[in-house]
Amino acid sequence: MIDKAEAEEVLGVTGLRLKFPGEPNLQFKDLSFSVKKGQKVLLLGPSGCGKSTLLQVLCGIIPTSIEVPMQSESLRLPSSWGMVFQDPDTQFGMPFVDEELAFVMENQCVPREEMEARMKRVLAEVGLQLGDLHTPIHSMSQGMKQRLALAAVLLLEPDVLLLDEPSALLDPEGTVQIWDAIHQIGANRTLLIVEHKLDHVLELIDRVVMFDDQGQIIADGAPEMLFREEKSRLIEYGIWYPGVWDEYVASSRYRNLMDEDDMYAIAQRHDDAAPLVELRNFQGKRGKESRILIQHAEIRSGEWIALLGENGAGKSTLLLSLMQLLKTEGIYRLQGKDVQLRRGEVLSDQMAFVFQNPELQFVTNSVQEELGLSIGLNKSDAATAAEDPRVCEMLRHIQLESERNRHPYQLSMGQKRRLSVATALIHQRPLLLLDEPTFGLDARSTFAMLEMIEQWRQRGMAIVMVTHDRWIAEHFATRIWRIEQGHGVDTAITTRTERKMVVNV
């Protein structure tokens, strides 16, 4: 082990002042921060506190690549560094694995003859086994792409590795893999990590630095002590610390919500009717190819169905098929009636759909118009939307009252997600289809989102939701549909339903 007291400082800044153009306040005001050789540092804080910005300042991306006005008393940049970014889809400039890795080496003028051997070495280091180096990047899973990004960074032979939420947009499997890879290669390096999901990070780090929403450092120390003393802040900032789900499920907030649930009443209200949705030999197609086959399945009012399955198993395809956005075959009954649509029609008046990327489904120029449009108001009718009681109630519900006149694109990620779900909830269709609505959100926003959906489910709405998160499936969904490679629904009841049954018996 390196003696930290004596180890030299590898990067640092004193008296940093930085302001984003157009923002009223300084992002950093006289911030000082430094890291010693070999330290593994985790930066924590609420979203928007400037952790990622600080990473970019500390390696010189700001102001070299991104021009932001800043000044500092002293700035020490690391002699060699590499950065892995959050989004797997925007890290690569080339279409193939070998070409991308070659790009990094070309920049450093590595002789061509050495390139292949180096590629194989770094791919092995991050645990990527590819039969062929000339593999198209778009054919890889998100988790593999992140490991490729890490491999590319290793070609820079960095002493300092900067990781900007490398697992935020990965499923649980990909998350484990990227952190395993980082663990493998991190031993002799200085690590600077920004991350919200702490499950696999804790064993890696020896120092935690915590920021408040003003961009000030409020705590700095060993992880164990800091997590014990600052637990309330972890919750406040929505950090996914280990055990956060256990605590949430044991909390009175969750208990109360679940106690309000009366499945019996919902079932009785809808009992005489046919199931809300009935599927027999139902096939969803992309082009001519059948991508999902459901032998037999039913959805009843008040059910919350979690769609689980591997990437590419056909979960999203099933949602799109239910919405009739794809061509389908087989029997599909809604409330006992066969679904028959003319060309180009979708079922938008019987069910609501929330896409994963909220921005792609916003249509208007303000938050309230967005909600107004969903209940049939004219697109440009802002004044009417502002007065409509349903819009006002929903705005209060999703805590966007003060943002009601802002453009949807100007909201934070959590707010955008809330708004996109709200536009689907507000017109009260009997069925709501959601494609990973909590993906990439922090813990606080995730719980808020799930509670909001649960309240509507308790009023009798049926929910079908794609998720990768076992915890959500077990503690919010009432039933699980497991999709395996394009066919089969293997249904299972969830922990929540089991507990309910025990209570009722």
Binding site: C59, I61, T64, S65, I66, G82, M83, F85, D87, D89, T90, Q91, F92, G93, M94, P95, F96, D98, E99, A102, F103, V104, M105, E106, N107, Q108, C109, V110, P111, R112, M115, I137, H138, A152, V153, L156, L320, M323, L325, G344, V346, S348, D349, A352, F353, F355, N357, E359, L360, Q361, F362, V363, L373, S374, K379, Y409, T423
Partner: protein, 269 residues
């Protein structure tokens, strides 16, 4: 779908230096542009078509499918000239339409010009990998890397843009947004697609640029010191290619004088 556009066999045409090929094909375009004799352009077209069918390495079935639209572009590009062109020797007229001998020949001349461009363009596209083209342009033509990599990075984004376009289409259907079939409706539709897709693309381009620079890509770097994963060089094969093209154009030129099929001289009159 992507596999559809991979050739059945790799021919010598694929192995020609892409930068040389690019320059030669630009040259061919200029020749086509300044050809004013019907017989010459006809023989040229036959040569280009032969080259396309013999050296592209694609199966006959795929080539037939890809050249099927040629009939349409031939008819559409020649028709306007045939029907409305000026001329002395009247063959047929009906209302506004006036077909004269001169306009007829001028029309099919335009048609063959278009076909020649299409055949050479298709041949180039089918036998050249974009990545290799830009590598060759950097190495043989000293194209600054910042332009080459800008193009290559944007190629990678095209499929993402296409995917987002489809999602946007579905999202608009789900939100019940329908635009009227009027000029205002068209404008509305354009904005409905352009704004979100542009916002996504600009952000993505910015992120990719930062990621590329963080991998030590310096926009100001010169071609001199840079190393290349794909080494492209000029070989005797490129000389062979150049000779073939020159011979082909020369044969077409001689044939148009010795064995003319139409013998109408300069179509410009």
């Amino acid at each position: 779908m992507n596999n559809w556009f991979s050739p059945k066999r790799v021919t010598w045409m694929h192995r020609v230096n892409p930068a040389i090929k690019f320059l030669v094909f630009i040259g061919l375009f200029i020749i086509i542009l300044f050809t004013h004799r019907l017989d010459f352009i006809l023989y040229q077209f036959l040569g280009y078509a032969a080259l396309l069918f013999l050296s592209s390495g694609y199966t006959l079935r795929k080539l037939m499918l890809m050249t099927l639209p040629f009939i349409f572009i031939f008819v559409s590009s020649s028709m306007t000239m045939i029907l409305f062109g000026k001329g002395e020797t009247l063959w047929w007229s009906w209302g506004l339409f006036r077909i004269t001998e001169e306009s007829f020949f001028r029309g099919i001349h335009i048609g063959f010009k278009t076909l020649s461009c299409a055949a050479t363009g298709l041949l180039f596209a089918l036998t050249t990998r974009p990545t290799l083209l830009f590598y060759a342009m950097m190495q043989q033509l000293r194209l600054p890397p910042k332009y080459a990599y800008a193009f290559m990075a944007s190629f990678r984004m095209l499929p993402m843009l296409w995917e987002e376009l489809q999602i946007r289409q579905q999202a608009l259907a789900v939100r019940g947004v329908r635009s009227a079939h009027s000029i205002r409706g068209w404008k509305e539709r354009l904005l409905n697609y352009a704004v979100p897709l542009l916002a996504q693309s600009i952000r993505r381009a910015q992120r990719v640029a930062v990621a590329m620079e963080s991998k030590r890509f310096a926009a100001q770097s010169s071609t001199a010191t840079r190393t290349y994963y794909y080494k492209t060089s000029v070989t005797s094969r490129d000389g062979f290619f150049l000779v073939i093209i020159l011979v082909m154009v020369a044969v077409a030129f001689v044939a148009s004088h010795e064995i003319p099929l139409f013998n109408v001289g300069d179509v410009r009159g």
